[in-house]
């Protein structure tokens, strides 16, 4: 008898918790209640953690909604949404005038992401100046000794031209200066991390959200490249992350974009390592 009552109380408590959790989420997820349909998303790889978490939360509250999230890179994002293959095409850069003209795309920014120079964790160099970074990537400084490090040749790593990360690094950090042709080219933020985690003499750059214990980010002119400094503007090498739709978004797609830009979407964005724009 006693056991039954305990069980009853426990189950009521659980129910209450579930209801509370449901109510807490209802604020921004409410618009999806009772709706059904499909949203296909593709493009920038930096966006994926945010998109996936949002998709998970929406599909849990409204099981009739299906959301697929694919990568491919910023260029693929533009192409797929432009050709009508997906509903939302993500880019880690602003669209080019040619792209907007051809496809009639509308962009929605939701996050700020910083790009930082990274080296192997055992590298003793703790700070680099803007000019030093430019000279290193241009191939003018070729030994770590010249910037206060160990006596070894610098191994350059860069990203391909489709990379939004490369675009912001080249545009703001290098001031559109030269990147040595001998630099190794890797195809993603993850591949950059793997390469630098293994190469004690390497230098490259990744999105701030990707920095962890396997690589080290020296300060830039004494400024730590982190979210706070990127948000305040003290760390200058930043970009915006965009969702793009063909024409004015309608229905579920509009709801999804609004959700990403809502307070709850902003919370997902910062949990993924980026700075919400709102």
């Amino acid at each position: 008898m006693h056991k039954v009552r305990t069980g009853l109380i426990l189950s009521m408590l659980t129910l209450a918790l579930v209801v509370c959790a449901g109510l807490a989420q209802a604020s921004d997820l409410g618009v999806f209640a009772g709706k059904s349909g499909k949203i296909d998303i593709a493009g920038g790889t930096a966006h994926i953690p945010v998109m996936k978490e949002a998709a998970k939360r929406i599909m849990q509250t409204s099981p009739a909604i299906r959301i697929t999230v694919a990568g491919g890179g910023s260029g693929v994002g533009v192409q797929k949404v432009g050709e009508g293959l997906v509903d939302i095409g993500n880019t880690g850069r602003a669209l080019s005038p040619a792209e907007i003209a051809k496809y009639g795309l509308k962009s929605f920014a939701f996050a700020i992401d910083g790009v930082a120079v990274v080296v192997h964790p055992k590298n003793s160099v703790a700070n680099l100046t803007h000019a030093q970074v430019q000279d290193i990537f241009a191939g003018k400084i070729t030994n770590w000794k010249a910037v206060g490090g160990h006596d070894a040749a610098i191994h350059l790593y860069t990203r391909d031209e489709a990379s939004g990360t490369r675009e912001v690094f080249w545009g703001i950090m290098l001031k559109k200066g030269k990147i040595a042709e001998s630099a190794n080219v890797v195809a993603s933020n993850g591949a950059m991390k793997t390469a630098l985690a293994g190469d004690a003499d390497g230098i490259g750059y990744v999105s701030i959200g990707h920095i962890d214990a396997t690589i080290k980010a020296p300060t830039l002119d004494g400024v730590v490249p982190d979210q706070d400094n990127a948000k305040s503007g003290k760390y200058p090498v930043t970009r915006k992350l965009y969702m793009n739709a063909k024409g004015e978004p309608k229905g579920l797609v509009a709801d999804f974009i609004a959700y990403i830009q809502s307070p709850e979407g902003a919370q997902i964005t910062s949990a993924s390592g980026y700075i919400p724009t709102r």
């Binding site: 260029g75 080019s96 040619a98 042709e181 080219v185 890797v186 390469a195 293994g198």
Partner: protein, 303 residues
């Protein structure tokens, strides 16, 4: 005598044959048309480049899209260098492995060896690439100099990748050519090794060439190994330890760029060149064959 008895069934078979022939013809026509269509589209899409001064821009030595230079020649050189050096290593190795399995080595090792080679074909390219990033690249970096992502790293792994193709193509030819010769060879008092070196291998010229064509095609066409291991610097490598970029890796890297850009359009030229390289190797070897006359069993070896 047998002819009269078979006449009715032959007529029946004739109609059946016609259907089969038509089906086979359709299958062949579709395959050929597909290849022709792919080539046609590649040329069509690269037309904007081929007209005007843009062709010279593409066929130049510097890939700097941000300053309007879209030269793909370093990538052409990269593909040819990597493909041919990988074959230089893999081809002799492949032929030796085949000889080992067909009489030069102990007979009881032949079956396990071929089993391992067949197993190698089922290893996905990306697994070779991934393992090499963590094992081979640091080895080259520490053992020699540079970042380890290099021509050398890619060529070693690529050789490993095309080895089973070479071995299996040659093996199937040796299996075909070998058995009918065995009795004659034995009667002549030849050892297995002599039989292989003086009879079977010379009669397997067709297989030797097919192995070379297919192996080279695989080596030049592979994307993931050079993308993951060769460093992808758009330059002509000055040593085995420097980075290079192949046409395939180049296409994979640039395909995600703004599809309205000249950089994107230049990719179709890369596609055309890749296509032409494999076609040239194919036709080149075909020519050698026709010059030597048909080799193999049909001519009895003296054609």
């Amino acid at each position: 005598m047998a002819g009269t008895g078979q006449t009715p069934s032959r007529q029946g078979a004739g109609r059946g044959d016609q259907i089969v022939t038509a089906l086979l013809f359709t299958a062949a026509a579709v395959s050929v048309l597909c290849v022709a269509a792919i080539f046609g589209f590649l040329v069509y899409f690269s037309l904007p480049l081929l007209g005007g001064d843009q062709l010279g821009m593409v066929l130049s030595w510097h890939w700097r899209p941000t300053s309007g230079q879209f030269g793909i020649l370093p990538m052409v050189v990269g593909s040819l260098l990597l493909g041919s050096t990988a074959m230089l290593l893999a081809y002799p190795l492949g032929v030796l492995v085949c000889c080992f399995a067909h009489g030069l080595g102990p007979a009881r090792l032949a079956a396990p060896l071929m089993a391992v080679i067949r197993l190698m074909t089922s290893v996905p390219t990306v697994v070779y690439g991934l393992v090499s990033v963590f094992l081979l690249v640091p080895l080259i970096r520490d053992g020699f100099s540079g970042s380890g992502f290099s021509w050398l790293a890619a060529l070693l792994v690529l050789a490993l990748l095309v080895l089973p193709t070479i071995v299996l193509v040659l093996d199937s030819q040796l299996r075909l050519v070998g058995p009918p010769l065995r009795l004659t060879a034995a009667a002549l008092g030849l050892t297995r090794a002599q039989e292989l070196l003086h009879l079977t291998l010379p009669l397997s010229a067709r297989g030797l060439k097919a192995a070379a064509v297919l192996g080279f095609g695989r080596a030049v066409g592979d994307t993931l190994i050079p993308l993951m291991l060769a460093g992808n610097a758009a330059q002509v490598p000055h040593s085995l330890l420097s980075a290079l970029r192949t046409l395939t890796a180049h296409i994979a890297l640039v395909v995600a760029t703004d599809s309205q850009s000249a950089a994107y359009n230049s990719l179709f030229a890369c596609g055309v060149i890749l296509f032409l390289i494999t076609l040239a190797v194919n036709l080149g070897l075909r020519r050698i064959r026709s010059e030597n006359g048909p080799a193999g069993l049909r001519g009895g070896g003296h054609a």
